[in-house]
């Protein structure tokens, strides 16, 4: 298309040049000669103008109606799977985008999407920012934020830490695994972008402030998969991940409580609430959902929808 417009413009310019040259000499005669020079030029010109007009008309066509969803990368896998099944049965397409909980709330309140995905509560500040929006949350499942380490560190004997110890790591007061009984290696502290749901929940648990600064951090990353990659690439990293994102390279730590009890991160401890860093997975709408959005949320709350929640490694509402 661009090349078409380009050739059109060049076409015009060559004509213009001829025209100017004609003007300086015998004006009228030359104009006549000019049209005799290339009679096809005129038709090509008209053809091209027509073609670009058709193209513009194509762009202006109204898009198909679909549900826009964006936000937390923790909730994302559930919603993408649900969206696939939902559009297969109903024919309504659901477009799912990542970005993090903060992005979900922002875009929802800004009217860019119909449903936001969040993995934390809406903060007071966010409510104050959007006084006109009535944000309504819908719980779709339960999850835990698990402190994770590179498999090398886990295999070297660090399998549980207390919330306080993790807090000290993020504050930069503990900077070597040796201080915690591990190998003599600097800790690579992986932090997350400030408005991410996982970070809010995690920081609230370890430092009592969901927006705490982490002066000990070495890297700041975004989505769950980015964090997962960085931790599995390293041999000395600590980070935070949703329970569903643990694997062989990225090991979840147990939390040791003050009374010496160890709580492993698994579906059972998340379900009975004994794991200390749990949270709800939420969808959020601006006002009571209606139409397609309501149908979609109802689908996720139904039995097939909740099966997806369980399959994605989270705790469903029925459990």
């Amino acid at each position: 298309m661009l090349s078409l417009v380009h050739s059109m413009v060049t076409n015009v310019f060559t004509r213009q040049n001829l025209y100017f040259r004609a003007e300086s000499a015998d004006y009228k005669n030359n104009i006549d000669t000019m049209s005799r020079i290339d009679p096809t030029l005129k038709t090509t010109f008209i053809c091209r103008t027509l073609m670009s007009a058709i193209f513009v008309a194509l762009i202006a066509c109204t898009p198909q109606e679909n549900i826009m969803v964006a936000g937390s990368t923790t909730v994302l896998p559930i919603i993408s799977k649900a969206a696939e099944q939902f559009s297969q049965t109903t024919g309504i397409s659901v477009i799912v985008n990542a970005g993090g909980s903060g992005v979900g709330i922002n875009q929802l309140a800004g009217g860019k999407i119909a449903i936001g995905m969040i993995s934390r509560n809406i903060t007071e500040k966010e409510k104050a920012l959007y006084p006109d929006a009535t944000l309504i949350t819908h719980v779709i499942g339960k999850d835990a934020v698990v402190p994770v380490v590179s498999s090398k560190i886990y295999n070297a004997g660090i399998t549980a830490l207390s919330l306080k110890q993790i807090g000290q790591i993020y504050l930069g007061k503990i900077s070597n695994w040796k201080q915690l009984g591990g190998p003599d290696k600097d800790i690579l502290v992986v932090d997350k972008e400030a408005s991410r749901g996982t970070r809010h929940v995690f920081m609230q648990a370890i430092l009592d402030d969901k927006e705490a600064l982490a002066p000990g951090a070495d890297l700041v990353l975004g989505a769950n998969n980015e964090e997962q990659t960085a931790i599995s690439q390293s041999d000395s990293a600590i980070g935070m991940l949703s329970h569903a994102w643990l694997n062989n390279d990225v090991k979840g730590l147990a939390i040791s409580l003050t009374d010496g009890q160890r709580i492993e991160p698994n579906l059972q401890t998340i379900n009975n609430g004994s794991f200390p860093i749990t949270r709800n997975l939420l969808l959020v709408t601006n006002g009571t959902p209606t139409g397609h959005s309501k149908e979609f949320i109802d689908f996720i709350l139904s039995t097939p929808g909740q099966t997806i929640v369980t399959e994605s490694g989270h705790v469903s509402l029925h459990q």
């Binding site: 076409n11 310019f13 005129k42 400030a194 700041v220 000395s236």
Partner: protein, 290 residues
């Protein structure tokens, strides 16, 4: 009829030009308007290090540092390699290979930057980590290295054009005067191609300044100036990586948003100044050939 078409063509071209100018002006104005809050409310306190939107601290110094150092690394790595490659292609390589080599290099310029970023995360950063025994390969140096690779094709094609555009008659005359090949290149071709080479470097600089995706993935994104200042093996943050990570989560119209836009404005100003300097240097040192 042809006069009429000619007029339509003229109007079309004119309106295209007006639209382009209006778009650039609009972007400039919108950026200025949205960054106004930041300038008024924060003023000089923007030039501090601490960035913590939750408590209203917005120091952009580490981002400014990151952007300048990453661009500097990219240029230091890319310019010598780029210029020598261009010189080889233009002066030494037989003509039939020239087009082939050049098209391959120009292909590189068309690769989307996210791919460079993924290559950076998957390979470059892990290699650096192993070779230099770092705790993480996501460093300022990695970003600079990746950027250098990204700007190389631009640099090579433009510099090669500059060399190639020097008319052969000058080389022939120099040869006739009994100069060796290296003397012809150093004394004759290089000085003549200089203005175009300068503008090639400046264009590459502009690309390096504005690159977002690749840098964002490999730089580590931490708002900190490394200790000591020239420790390039530490993670950092550039203006673009900061914008890429935070612009979506900053509420539209908030101070946080305004400061992010202000950083974008600074970047645009820099590119603008660079462009003006480039034009200036070109018009000042007149072309020595026609």
């Amino acid at each position: 009829m042809s006069v009429c078409i000619s007029k339509i063509g003229k109007a079309y071209a004119l309106s295209s030009m007006i639209v382009s100018i209006a778009i650039s002006l609009c972007i400039f104005l919108v950026l200025l308007i949205y960054s106004w809050d930041a300038i008024i409310e924060q003023g000089w306190s923007l030039l501090t290090i601490r960035w913590h939107p939750a408590t209203g601290q917005f120091g952009i110094l580490s981002m400014l540092y990151g952007t300048s150092i990453v661009t500097l690394i990219a240029l230091v790595l890319a310019v010598p390699i780029g210029l020598l490659t261009a010189l080889y292609i233009a002066e030494i390589l037989p003509d039939q290979y020239r087009i082939v080599i050049k098209s391959i290099l120009e292909l590189l310029a068309g690769i989307p930057s996210i791919l460079y970023g993924l290559i950076g995360v998957a390979f470059v950063s892990t290699w650096l980590e192993h070779w230099l025994l770092l705790s993480s390969g996501r460093t300022i140096l990695t970003a600079g290295f990746l950027l250098a690779i990204m700007i190389l094709p631009t640099l090579i094609t433009l510099a090669e054009d500059a060399f190639h555009n020097v008319p052969d008659q000058y080389r022939e005359s120099a040869c006739g005067l009994g100069l060796y090949r290296h003397e012809i290149i150093l004394r004759c071709v290089l000085p003549m191609a200089k203005p175009d080479i300068v503008s090639a470097i400046l264009l590459a600089l502009g690309r390096a300044l504005g690159e977002t995706m690749a840098v964002m993935l490999v730089i580590g994104s931490i708002d900190r100036i490394p200790q000591p200042v020239f420790n390039l093996l530490m993670p950092g943050q550039t203006i673009t990586s900061k914008l890429g990570r935070e612009i979506e989560e900053a509420a539209f119209g908030s101070l946080h948003f305004s400061i992010l836009i202000f950083m974008g404005f600074l970047l645009m100003l820099t590119v603008l100044i660079v462009t003006i300097v480039a034009h200036h240097s070109l018009s000042q040192t007149e072309r020595r050939y026609e």
